[in-house]
């Protein structure tokens, strides 16, 4: 005979339990709704399809890095090199295409491979020698940024026809126009979601971040997972760099300065625990939208200066970190 435990009975209370379990996600969704609603109320024309799709396009490369960063943070790590990799990738591909006549496809493949290789290298150092991730990826950031500037100090405009075609591309769905960047971003988010929630690799990452000792005893492949996630993140950062070149039409070694912080902030605001083991890719998507909404609102307002962004993001970070702290304490 089965003995159900009241604290865990499924059934009619399902909606309430889902809400309780996914509290951070729900909080993030509510905040996004509140922000977008407030902005729509305050600013004429904010509540439009154009603004909504603009959110996706304008924050595409930031969002792509956030997807990779989410996976890294799932496993309890952190990667401070993503902004620098974006800068490196943009000048690298631009220089190859413009100054050396390399076919864009080849340049992109090379850039993606390099991004993944840098990530794998950092991951190997972090795992095999038990070195602190923030320090190693910091070094990686210096490396990537420096090599980027070494390739070319100035930005390089891209005039290749393939780029022009991509920049001009638009997919019409009803009244909405999706640019190539927006579509790539959506594709990456979907891929990120599938990896995080429907593959062993993704679940292993969460297990490692949740309790590495347990993961080890459970026989999970820790080394492969850790090195793999940094490689994947490097790939995402490189992809983001390519998307950035579509967005600006040029390669610039100083692109993405400070972007890693925004990326991390987005992941935390999305409800993922910075110490690892807990989070949802959908939360990261909402975090990107929140970030984009604030930025768009500031632009719309015209009175607020751009640096208010920093303060608001910092304040949101504080709120979510404290929330996470109390959420955890209650669980104990």
């Amino acid at each position: 005979m089965n003995r159900p435990h009241p604290e865990t009975a499924a059934g009619p209370a399902a909606l309430r339990t889902i809400l309780r379990r996914q509290l951070p996600l729900v909080a993030t969704a509510l905040i996004f709704a509140a922000l977008f609603g407030t902005a729509g109320f305050l600013y004429d024309g904010f509540f439009s399809v154009r603004v909504a799709t603009g959110l996706l396009a304008d924050n595409a490369f930031l969002g792509i890095t956030a997807v990779g960063m989410t996976l890294v943070i799932f496993s309890g790590g952190i990667d401070l090199s993503v902004g620098a990799v974006i800068g490196f990738t943009s000048i690298f591909t631009a220089t190859l295409v413009e100054k050396h006549g390399v076919a864009p496809g080849v340049a992109w493949l090379a850039a993606l491979a390099l991004g993944a290789a840098l990530g794998a290298g950092m991951g190997a150092l972090i795992h095999c020698f038990t070195l602190p991730p923030f320090l190693i990826t910091l070094a990686g950031m210096f490396l990537a940024r420096g090599v980027g500037f070494w390739i070319n100090q100035e930005s390089v405009g891209i005039t290749h026809p393939v780029y022009e075609r991509i920049s001009g591309f638009e997919l019409d769905v009803g009244r909405a126009f999706f640019t190539a960047n927006a579509l790539i971003f959506v594709a990456v988010i979907v891929a990120g979601y599938v990896v995080a929630h429907h593959t062993r690799f993704g679940r292993n990452l969460l297990a490692i971040g949740g309790n590495e000792q347990s993961a080890l005893l459970m026989g999970l492949p820790i080394g492969a997972a850790k090195i793999g996630v940094y490689a994947v993140n490097g790939f995402c950062a490189a992809l983001a760099g390519i998307v950035a070149t579509f967005y600006t039409g040029s390669g610039n070694p100083s692109m993405g300065v400070g972007l890693e912080l925004d990326s991390i902030a987005i992941v935390v605001i999305g409800g993922t625990l910075l110490t690892g083991g807990r989070g949802h890719m959908l939360g990261t998507f909402l975090g990107v939208l929140i970030f984009g909404t604030i930025q768009a609102a500031i632009l719309f307002d015209g009175r607020l200066s751009a640096w208010w962004m920093r303060i608001v993001v910092g304040a949101l970070l504080l709120v979510f970190i404290l929330l996470q702290r109390f959420f955890l304490r209650k669980k104990r």
């Binding site: 005979m1 459970m218 083991g277």
Partner: protein, 502 residues
């Protein structure tokens, strides 16, 4: 008798500087619950680690179902059919029940997971334990007892033939223990072999068929539970001959018309640590706190010193009510505590002997009233000589000293604060014989100097030798006290075994 499921023969395991196991045999039959018992240093955990692939054995062989196996990782042991559930429930609390049960082996195709199949497998595994619970619930939100059930379910999901339960009842209440036993009986009926590692003797007698006792890395013997008396069991665990003598408390020693006790604790209790306990320590006396491993001795000490907060109970220091909420409070009231875990809770490994020695005294004085260099040198010299601490000089990092000398440094640390009460938790553990004697002499000197000493130890001889009266804890409650004529090893064993209760 059922056929042997697991046979360990002649297992040996050495670590640098210590022989953990030597010539140990261990047999478990299918459909049997077998207890593995032993005091500290017996080798229980090493044997389990060898069995579950964490450490390879240096000598001997393991046979499962007649086949020789040599698991060299937990994963391999699991694949062979040996599953372990640890005391700290080594699962991932932030993931769901279903995920934890299937992690690493999730059903799926081409790398993609099949969540419906995952949930189904989890429910099936839990159903085998006759437990129903929401498989999507987050593991960390469940009670420890339920988390353990999930761990067992995971073990079963791997088609385990042998289930090892390592101290599973430590954090469970009575009802939860009963539920666990029901599950264990059902699994035993299914033909599983269960290894039950515990120090709760009552539970051994409640649920096991056979038991194996280890001591100092060697096999003492294997017995049918029903055929071994409690007193006999305790005797074998402690390596002592047991006479037929009954418990005879005798006459307590004369005590001078009482000065008031230095420290009194009344009704001291904490859930999962100890039941309400009364305790009184007097100046110039060495009181002992004895009991088997897990009886609550260290927990009591931690409550007295303010490391853990008591759920109930009051303190009195020098006759006046006192509040002890932190080590700082305790130190200010004149208490001192030498922890049993030198490495994690005692030494500051990279700091010098001098700094380790003076840190508590300095902490008492505060940051601004630093001890002058000359005074520091003088104090260090004094204690290094008085306690005969063997060190190249006072600046040597304390991690370079031997265990015995580290212990002396810690002792000196506390003596430097000139406490009225000092609690020593296993002060001679992991120390060579010569240093042991020195420490015992020191304890006597402390007593003569007028300190109140609480001496906690699992070695019966030591306790009898050094103390004038001994309180005995059994399964987290105070079970009795002996002193004077009644302070004999036999009586102590009776108290530990619970056979004094008629």
């Amino acid at each position: 008798m059922n056929p042997a499921l697991l046979e360990l023969r002649g297992i040996g395991k050495k670590f640098p500087g210590v022989v953990a196991l030597a010539g140990v045999d261990f047999t478990v039959r299918a459909g049997e619950t077998h207890a593995l018992l032993g005091e500290n240093g017996a080798g229980k955990s090493t044997l389990i680690k060898v069995l579950t692939g964490v450490h390879p054995a240096d000598a001997g062989e393991i046979r499962l179902d007649g086949r020789v196996i040599r698991p060299d990782s937990p994963r391999e042991a699991e694949e062979l059919g040996i599953s372990t559930v640890y005391q700290e429930v080594n699962l991932v609390p932030s993931l769901s029940v279903a995920e934890n049960i299937t992690l690493g082996r999730q059903p799926g195709r081409a790398g993609f997971l099949n969540w419906r199949a995952i949930r189904r497998r989890a429910r099936t595994a839990l159903a085998r334990l006759e437990i129903e619970c929401d498989v999507d619930a987050e593991l960390g939100s469940l009670s420890v007892a339920l988390q353990q059930m999930v761990a067992i379910a995971r073990a079963l999901d791997t088609a385990a033939k042998l289930l090892v339960l390592d101290e599973p009842t430590a954090s469970l209440d009575e009802r939860e223990v009963a539920e666990l036993f029901a599950v264990m009986r059902k699994l035993r009926g299914d033909g599983l072999g269960i290894v039950f590692v515990t120090h709760f003797l009552d539970q051994v007698y409640a649920v096991t068929d056979r038991l194996t006792v280890l001591r100092n890395g060697q096999l003492v013997g294997e017995f049918a539970t029903a055929e071994l008396s409690r007193l006999d069991l305790v005797g074998r665990m402690l390596g002592r001959e047991v006479t037929a003598a009954d418990f005879s408390p005798g006459k307590p020693a004369e005590r001078a018309a009482r000065e008031q006790p230095v420290l009194v604790a009344r009704g001291l209790a904490r859930a999962g640590a100890i039941a309400p306990t009364d305790l009184a320590l007097h100046a110039g006396e060495v009181a002992g706190l004895g009991g088997l491993l897990g009886s609550g001795r260290t927990e009591t000490a931690r409550l007295l010193f303010g490391i853990d907060t008591a759920d109930a109970g009051v303190f009195e220091v020098q006759g006046r009510p006192a509040a002890i909420h932190s080590p700082r409070d305790a130190i200010r009231l004149g208490l001192a505590f030498c922890s049993e875990d030198r490495k994690a809770e005692g030494i500051l490994p990279n700091l010098s002997v001098r700094e380790n020695l003076l840190v508590a005294l300095q902490g008492k004085r505060g940051a601004l009233r630093a001890l002058a260099r000359a005074e520091q040198a003088q104090l260090c010299d004094h204690y290094i000589r008085a306690l005969r601490i063997k060190t190249a000089d006072a600046e040597t990092p304390v991690k370079n000293l031997s265990g015995g000398n580290q212990q002396k440094v810690l002792l000196a640390r506390w003596l430097a604060t000139q406490p009225a009460v000092i609690i020593l938790d296993e002060p001679t553990r992991g120390i060579d014989v010569g240093a042991k004697q020195e420490i015992e002499q020191l304890v006597a000197k402390l007593r003569d100097d007028g300190l109140a000493v609480l001496f906690i130890s699992s070695e019966i001889d030591e306790v009898v030798r050094n103390c004038s009266r001994v309180l005995v804890l059994r399964e987290r409650r105070l079970t009795g006290e002996v002193s004077g004529d009644g302070l004999t090893s036999e009586n102590l064993m009776h108290l530990m075994a619970g056979t004094h209760e008629g």
